[in-house]
């Protein structure tokens, strides 16, 4: 555990409602610098919605998100500009651009050559393009895709597409990287490789927040794990604390010997209600 460090991300009282449906309910959440934090929870617990609130894709109904002490505006490109980069649960690469171009797009916020400089092609433009390309190639070497720089992203194998998405996010020079299910669909070897990659990213001084269903992956990797159930934060703490918590087990597996067999969902609802009886959210 890394304590005594400054918070990178602070979410205060974040609530997201879609009409009558509350997907995320007053979640307080902090990520400190140099930390790898995991966010777990059953399907539909609101993890991705919470991610979208953090990155400005959704405007939270209530609450604020701040990065290194400044409150973030709810615009995705400004959030990225501030220093939070993300990947997506279902890979969203620019499929018909090359590997290198994908990473170069990630450099967008850290370069500022506009239309005029592109048209006039002064020395500044060429220098900036060259620097961008060098930086992008460094990142491709870091994730091990340098030899595929001219392949179209769509033609990469699945695991490499995930890696490329991470490289693209890193290109924006973030202080915090959000990974939405980075190992979904990967085989065990690829998952282990991703583990190494996440450690390497942390060693670069970038804090990582990840959503994941692979528990072994999460508990191996994370300094701290938070559990989201039905839009609310159930527990937060080290791997040991979370693994031992009965409410977490109940949320995932249903409470043992209670309720009819096969009614795991009912048990899940009961678990959530036990935690906070006053509200009756129907977050799916």
């Amino acid at each position: 555990m890394n304590n005594m460090t400054t918070p990178v991300l602070e979410a205060r009282d974040v609530t997201m409602r879609f009409g009558g449906l509350t997907a995320v309910r007053s979640v307080d959440f902090t990520v400190n610098s140099g930390e790898i934090v995991g966010l777990i929870g059953p399907n539909g617990a609101g993890k991705t919605t919470f991610f979208n609130c953090l990155t400005g894709l959704y405007i939270p109904t209530e609450g604020t998100v701040s990065y290194k002490g400044t409150v973030l505006p709810p615009k995705p490109h400004l959030v990225t500009m501030a220093g939070i980069a993300r990947t997506f649960q279902n890979i969203r690469l620019f499929a018909n651009m090359t590997v290198l171009e994908n990473v170069l797009v990630g450099r967008h916020t850290r370069t500022k050559e506009g239309l005029w400089s592109a048209l006039l092609r002064g020395p500044g433009f060429k220098k900036a393009e060259k620097a961008s390309e060098e930086r992008a190639m460094e990142l491709l070497e870091f994730i091990g895709l340098a030899d595929k720089r001219d392949h179209l992203a769509r033609n990469l194998p699945y695991g490499e597409q995930r890696k490329l998405e991470i490289a693209r996010a890193l290109a924006s020079e973030p202080g915090l990287l959000l990974l939405d299910e980075p190992t979904a669909g990967m085989n065990p070897q690829e998952t282990r490789a991703t583990e190494e990659l996440v450690f390497a990213i942390r060693d670069k001084g970038i804090a990582v927040l990840l959503i994941e269903h692979d528990m072994r992956f999460v508990f191996n990797l994370c300094d701290r794990v938070a559990v989201l159930v039905q839009g609310e934060k159930l527990v937060e703490g080290t791997s040991e604390v979370v693994q031992a918590d009965e409410r977490v087990i109940a949320a995932y597996l249903g409470e043992p010997f209670e309720g009819a067999p096969g009614e795991a969902e009912a048990a899940e609802v009961a678990a959530a209600e036990a935690q906070n009886a006053s509200t009756k959210g129907d977050a799916q």
Binding site: E101, G106, T111, E113, L119, P157, E181
Partner: protein, 594 residues
């Protein structure tokens, strides 16, 4: 140099003939078709082109002649004649089949149109019958060539026109030879293009289209077009320079200013299409009212042209100022329209731009002093726009330069070549930069692009405004070329270009995201209604059918952008760039959908 198709045990022709006979038939038929072009096909010169002279081809016979020569050349190349091997690098049958069909098509088209137009087969001379029979021979020979028999007739037929995979790479040429080759091909292209523009009657143009389509298709299946595009990729700026040189040479090859008029209109249309390509092809914004920006440029130029019918008849800007004013007015108009509408995506944006395009035309129609402010003279437009004059060079008069006469339209044509050069430069430079990448990213996945820090609205607005500016620039010239501006041409759809539907069609037909595509598309879409006057009111129907056919068989457009081609054809194979060698691909990839 062995024939790969011969080694397949099941390979045999659709028409049961030995290989030697099939090849002999192809060669003999090709030569006979060529020779038959020298005969008299009909007795009267009523059929355009005068096909009555024995010993000299006329009109459509020249096309039969060309197609026959091509067939014979490919037949000789199939024999493995030294010096012709480059024509058939893959030793495949498709080019033979396609050129044979092309020769057959153009000959039979001519024979049938003689019979139909002059009222009966009696109008054919024996030479016509000989040509008809001679042109069938290579087709018979072509389909007697052995192809693997799959037992399915449709598959068998497809095999005859399929482009094989793995065409052997050419021997590397020296840089000098590459450039020489590009020069030759450009000159050839100019000759073919000039011939098409100069066709004097519809039949000749249709025959021309038949020959060109089949010849290009044959070259494509032979793998020669791929080889040439690789050469172009190595010598991009040289090719661009050659292209512009060819464009500049064009008016000097024309004795009749009418064809220069067609040329200048194609250039205006092509320039605007290229501007639209930024908006549609790069940024992926479907703009259905784009022609309004051409209108804004044209009206601005007309208002400051010094025309006595202009609201500001006392004002006469020099052309550079008028061009800047037109471009600036279009830019402002583009930002004004773009700012509120670009927050919409997809279909909604298309509908809103369609609406704004029509608003422009209707507003211009009503600003006549009665129903609105007196600015544009309403439906009468602004006539009598004076010709341009640069340093005493009056564009309205014919000038003799080095023995060549440049008429009024040729002057404007050369000015448009300059404008198009600017637009091509803007397009290529913008596309290959940070802003160009962000346009493509927005087109590919807008959510991911914004999550990568791209301000979607701002970037889209720049694309929209830049496209508008380029169209406005072209509009300023177009006002002078046509003497007058009226609201009517600036509509969504009409029978003749430019209108928004045609502009969009030019971009899509030619190939989105490429430079040459929209220009080629514009040339085709301008020439077709111009040349095929006999279609008259059915031209839109023919246009629609052609569009459907092309989108069915080649959705990426005539000139395919590499990205687009992959988008539309899921081949499932890895696309490996030329430069890297394919090492062991990881075979352990699981594509599980978690």
């Amino acid at each position: 140099m062995t024939d790969t198709t011969k080694t397949t045990p099941t390979a045999r022709g659709l028409i049961p003939l030995p290989l030697a006979a099939a090849r002999a038939l192809l060669l003999a038929g090709g030569i006979a078709t060529t020779a038959s072009a020298f005969l008299a096909w009909t007795w009267t010169s009523e059929f355009p082109g005068d096909l009555t002279i024995t010993g000299y081809p006329g009109g459509l016979q020249w096309l039969t002649f060309t197609a026959g020569i091509l067939t014979a050349l490919f037949a000789l190349a199939a024999y493995g004649i030294r010096g012709l091997g480059w024509l058939l690098p893959a030793r495949n049958n498709a080019p033979l089949v396609l050129t044979a069909i092309g020769a057959f098509g153009v000959t039979w088209y001519t024979i049938i149109s003689i019979a139909v137009e002059l009222g009966g087969l009696a109008n054919l001379e024996p030479g016509g019958y000989i040509a008809a029979i001679a042109s069938v021979l290579p087709v018979l020979g072509a389909f007697a060539l052995p192809e693997p028999n799959t037992g399915d007739t449709k598959e068998n037929l497809k095999a005859y026109i399929a482009k094989p995979d793995g065409i052997p790479a050419p021997q590397p040429l020296s840089g000098w030879a590459e450039r020489a080759l590009i020069t030759v091909v450009t000159a050839l292209g100019l000759a073919v293009f000039t011939y098409g523009i100069d066709t004097e009657y519809g039949e000749l143009f249709i025959g021309y289209l038949i020959v060109v389509v089949f010849a290009v298709w044959a070259l494509h299946t032979a793998g020669l077009i791929d080889r040439f595009s690789r050469l172009v990729a190595h010598n991009r700026s040289f090719t661009l320079a050659m292209g512009f040189a060819a464009a500049i040479v064009f008016p000097f090859t024309q004795s009749n200013d009418h064809y220069a008029n067609i040329g200048v209109n194609i250039l205006i249309f092509g320039t605007v299409a290229l501007g639209l390509n930024i908006v549609v092809g790069l940024a992926g914004l479907l703009d259905l009212g784009y022609v309004a920006f051409l209108g804004v440029g044209a009206y601005t130029a007309a208002l400051v042209s010094g025309s006595e019918f202009s609201r500001f008849s006392g004002v006469q800007f020099p052309f550079w100022a008028a061009a800047l004013a037109g471009a600036a007015a279009s830019l402002i108009f583009g930002v004004l329209i773009g700012a509120p509408t670009l927050r919409l995506r997809g279909d909604y944006l298309a509908i809103v731009t369609l609406g704004f395009g029509e608003i422009f035309r209707i507003a211009v129609n009503n600003m006549d002093g009665d129903s609105g402010p007196d600015i544009t003279n309403g439906p009468n437009g602004i006539p009598a726009i004076p010709d341009l004059s640069f340093f005493g060079y009056n564009f309205g008069e014919a000038h003799d330069i080095a023995g060549f006469t440049l008429g009024r339209f040729a002057n404007y044509y050369l000015l448009m070549v300059l404008i198009m050069a600017i637009v091509v430069l803007v397009y290529t430079r913008a596309a290959d930069s940070r802003i160009g990448r962000s346009w493509i990213a927005i087109r590919e996945d807008e959510t991911a692009a914004t999550a990568m820090g791209i301000n979607g609205f701002r970037v889209k607005l720049i694309a929209f405004a830049l496209g508008a500016t380029l169209a406005g620039l072209a509009g300023t010239v177009s006002a002078h070329v046509t003497y007058s501006v009226v609201p009517n041409p600036y509509q969504f759809a009409g029978a003749a270009p430019p209108n928004s539907a045609f502009l969009l069609a030019a971009v899509v037909l030619g190939g989105m995201g490429t430079v040459a595509g929209p220009i080629l598309g514009a040339a085709l879409l301008y020439l077709l209604p111009e040349k095929l006057v006999f279609l008259q009111d059915k031209s839109l129907l023919a246009f629609g059918i052609a569009l459907i056919l092309l989108m069915r068989f080649r959705p990426e457009g005539i000139i395919a952008n590499r990205r687009r081609q992959l988008e539309f054809h899921e081949t499932g194979q890895l696309d490996v760039p030329d430069t890297t060698t394919l090492t062991d691909e990881p075979a352990t990839v699981t594509k599980a959908g978690a």
